[in-house]
Symmetry: D2
């Protein structure tokens, strides 16, 4: 097998259509898109026509099709676990978008299903591990030249999220989960305790959710991580990170763009959303998945163990949102 | 009176000799240095000779001298309150270095002494209020164009502090106190609750103190302030600050220096210590004090009320270091 | 036709092997690599095996193969014109690396050959037009918000070029030609006059060529362009550009990488060579060529008219190197 | 003598009033302002009142007053040479603003007058030599770590200059003269040849002068210096400089100010004029002059030899403006 036939479940969502389908078709070596499905029949047919692939009736048909070797799941969160388990039952590898599961119980079911199906059958969509800047950051950190890491300062700002009727927990499961995983990966440590504190809330795009939120986590070796999680930054999209070591620090660069000097100002444009920022990471994570399936690398991507650990930490954060105290993971 | 005759108590310390005496003599309009004193007789005579001023036997002699209109106190911390009270008894205005007092009780005594002596007799050395960058930051914040402030991220790193036999509380009283005051000034709000968390400690320049420390404070309107307080950063001196507002943020610039491109790198030198960073602020705070004494401005500098509030907040932080919990100020 | 079968002539060179073949195979939608040829038989077979494509005996065989719809030529400079003319005679579209031709006479021959074969049959490898930063720069410029352009300051530095036995003219044909084309594209103007001045030469990696060289060109509307062309910068690879307009300027950003704070310094790594800097541009130029051939866009890429104009300007520069005077293009 | 009594001629001009008088009174150790004069009687009286010093009838009275030990001349350009010569005849040291003289003949007269009066009697106001950034740049350059200098790229932009009825030569004598001197100082070399080229002119604040102008100069060792001299940049005031060496480059930093993130942008304010940019340099040049007069340093500041050389180079530039050719200095 030197071409993996990939089916995408949830192809009509934003990330399915404009990120994953595009990337498989245009930018992934050794992979071909063969089938798509979605809860929205009308839109999935359009996508299928656009790429000249098959529109499946439903996820089950896609999973069991002999035109599909491997499945990329980016449908709605509650379907992640059942669809993945069905793929594993069929012996098909899965690329699963975050979050891996909605509850720890569900996550446990998935781990068991994978245990039966074989090792490294599932890659979780923690795409930041494939971002060149984070990779460079880890390289400097791992070189040891700056000594041991002591703290990490993280900032995650999205420009606009409709916060009406959103529960507080989405700051954890949608925003915080990325910081949880990337810090585990950077530091190679698990989290011990977490806390949440609510700053004054923004009144811009007022909703029912408290925004921003300030998250703290501490690793087994006491490295302290603070995260500003902002859903409505208004001004733009930015992911910032500084690892503070004993002898120096490492910091993500500001997203570059041309420097414009205009009346009494020198400035640079900031990206409006995540797609511009992590365009390479999204491509490389799927490429890596395909390379692993083709045996071109024997290093698997982030797997269910990572997804499960992220779930456990998020779970503790959601408890901490309610208690206001430090919660053990 | 169009020249204030200033006596400096504690003239032989680093900040006395190289900052305040120099600034009074060279950079302060309307002021003249007339007398110095110090616990170290030998060194104070040298300083007196250097500036052609009088070396006083002790603080008392300086305070009561008719060659001294106003007193700048930068002697050791435990002398701050008694010397200031003596000045006030003599009716002489005081410029007092931080911390205003070692304990809240002491601070209370000083407030009472000033009440008897008259309003605005004491200016506290919160020099950051005179830093052009912080001033510009406040101007942008006060313009309202970015909406209300929600959070402040502060970083305070000094390059080298001998931490042997230093109590944990010095991170609060020496480093944190600056962040406490500048945030009160920027936000025009008092603090409600504080917390301290200890990250993994550095092993560079190992000492008995826990370093770095991570401080959190929350204002009356719930603005959340986080502070990385690092005594041994090893790499250099840096004060960073970002005020996060509803529609944008304001951030101190990196201290500029020439950009050097060398083998596969583009870099800038960082300052080794505070003196380079706040050179203008130290000059301007004393100039403002003198201007106020001469009636050139009717806006007093930071006073005992500010010093007292800082003491109260530091007090809560020191409690929080022990309890690990949020402490009410 | 919805897949263009591409043959690469000169596949075993650096840009052939690591840039164009890779990009066609991995990153180009609607294209498939089918054949490669090279003057080095041994190495071309390896490449053919690696990609599972055919190794042709020679360029002629590749050009006339029915497995090849379109030809990408990146063989040595003296073959550019003859190979391209053969492709045109066979009615096959060509992507041709710079320089289009070694002499104006040759370039003229190519133009005539294309005139017979049909419009826009040849795309020239001026890849900077596909760099996102230059594209953003042009967008700001074309918006008119900064007024008319008056000057352009360009810097082109490569880290290491063996300069032994290289003629002075290579600074023009290898380095300057990129600046010539990108300025023509940015400003939408042709050059009127050019000049060259020789600064003190570097003694690092000493060779026979004069390095750096300083180029000046002036457009029909008198926009003045200065170019620092450095072949042995030693420190790293950098392409800088600032367009100076009546009301402001636009400047390429420094290539971003993580900011590392270490002993008394804050710095960023610089790229060692062009491949890191223009990775996206190299992909996008070939994608655009393929899109044009497939009719997905009706805007052709840079063509022989652009290549010819660049030749004329380089020709004037080479004259100017000898005369030391302003030379008319 | 441990206090120099300084008289300022031309005290009512911008640089006299807001820069030099202020700096002498407020920021210069060892100096006292004792007298001012100006062609504008009314305004000089106001200044005299403000500083409680004497308003002299005219320059002659000031120069001959026994209340004046040393004279700072910042009156209009045509008075520079005659007033300086009168001071030298009286044996009084002079700080003379640029330009030293309007013509080479005049400059020659001044040199002869100084020869009679004694060495280092005149300091010329080349204040950039006292700018901390240029000083750091020279330090890195002189360290030799980057090899020999090969080129210097200079940019000088002022925000607004009324260009009606201004001769082309003012770009040389007002703007270019600073770059001439600072490059001589940085490189410790004299200029051999110069050239001027006129880019397309701005139509903003249209005047009769050609603006911007592009200047080239080459040193005895062939270091090539290019200067963008812009009188009406519209957007702000900026002085940029990059020294290109064999193994790396050194560049002035962008003037720092707080970084503001607002809608899809991150930006920094730029200074409107020179006063903000060179505030420290203006203070330090006068301080150095006074220190030299008081014998605190035996290194004189930039003198008439530097002023004369700058005149010679400017003279060649003005010739080059007319001929369009390289002119020998």
């Amino acid at each position: 097998m030197n071409q993996i036939k990939i089916g995408v479940i949830g192809a009509s969502g934003n990330i399915g259509r404009y990120t994953h389908c595009e990337n498989i078709v245009k930018y992934t070596d050794g992979a071909v898109l063969t089938a798509v499905s979605s809860s929205s029949k009308a839109s999935v047919q359009k996508i299928a026509d656009h790429y000249c692939v098959q529109a499946m009736e439903n996820a089950e048909e896609l999973i069991t099709s002999d035109q599909v070797d491997a499945v990329l799941i980016c449908s709605s969160n509650e379907t992640h676990v059942p669809y993945t388990i069905r793929c594993l039952e069929e012996g098909k590898p899965v690329f699963l978008e975050k979050p891996m599961a909605n509850t720890l119980e569900e996550a446990q079911l998935l781990l068991e299903a994978e245990k039966k199906a074989g090792e490294h059958m599932v890659q979780i969509g923690f795409m930041r591990r494939y971002d060149p800047d984070y990779i460079e950051m880890k390289k400097v950190l791992d070189s040891g030249s700056l000594g041991a890491p002591l703290m990490v300062h993280c900032i995650s700002r999205t420009r606009y999220t409709n916060l009406k009727n959103r529960p507080d927990s989405e700051h954890i499961t949608v925003i915080g989960v990325h910081e949880v995983d990337i810090c585990r990966w950077l530091l190679e440590e698990n989290m011990k305790e977490v806390m949440v504190r609510f700053p004054r809330s923004t009144t811009v795009e007022t909703g029912d959710s408290r925004d921003p939120q300030f998250l703290l986590m501490q690793t087994e070796n006491d490295i302290l991580i603070d995260v500003e999680a902002t859903a409505n930054s208004y001004y733009g999209y930015e992911i910032l990170c500084e690892v503070v070591c004993e002898k120096g620090t490492i910091r993500l660069p500001v997203t570059p763009s041309v420097m414009v000097r205009s009346y009494l100002n020198v400035g640079q444009a900031l990206p409006p959303d995540w797609n511009d920022r992590f365009v390479v990471a999204y491509r490389n994570e799927v490429q890596h998945w395909v390379d692993y399936l083709l045996g071109k690398t024997d290093v698997p991507g982030p797997g269910t163990a990572d997804g499960y650990e992220a779930c456990r930490i998020c779970d503790a954060f959601i408890r901490a949102q309610k208690t206001g105290c430090w919660e053990t993971v």
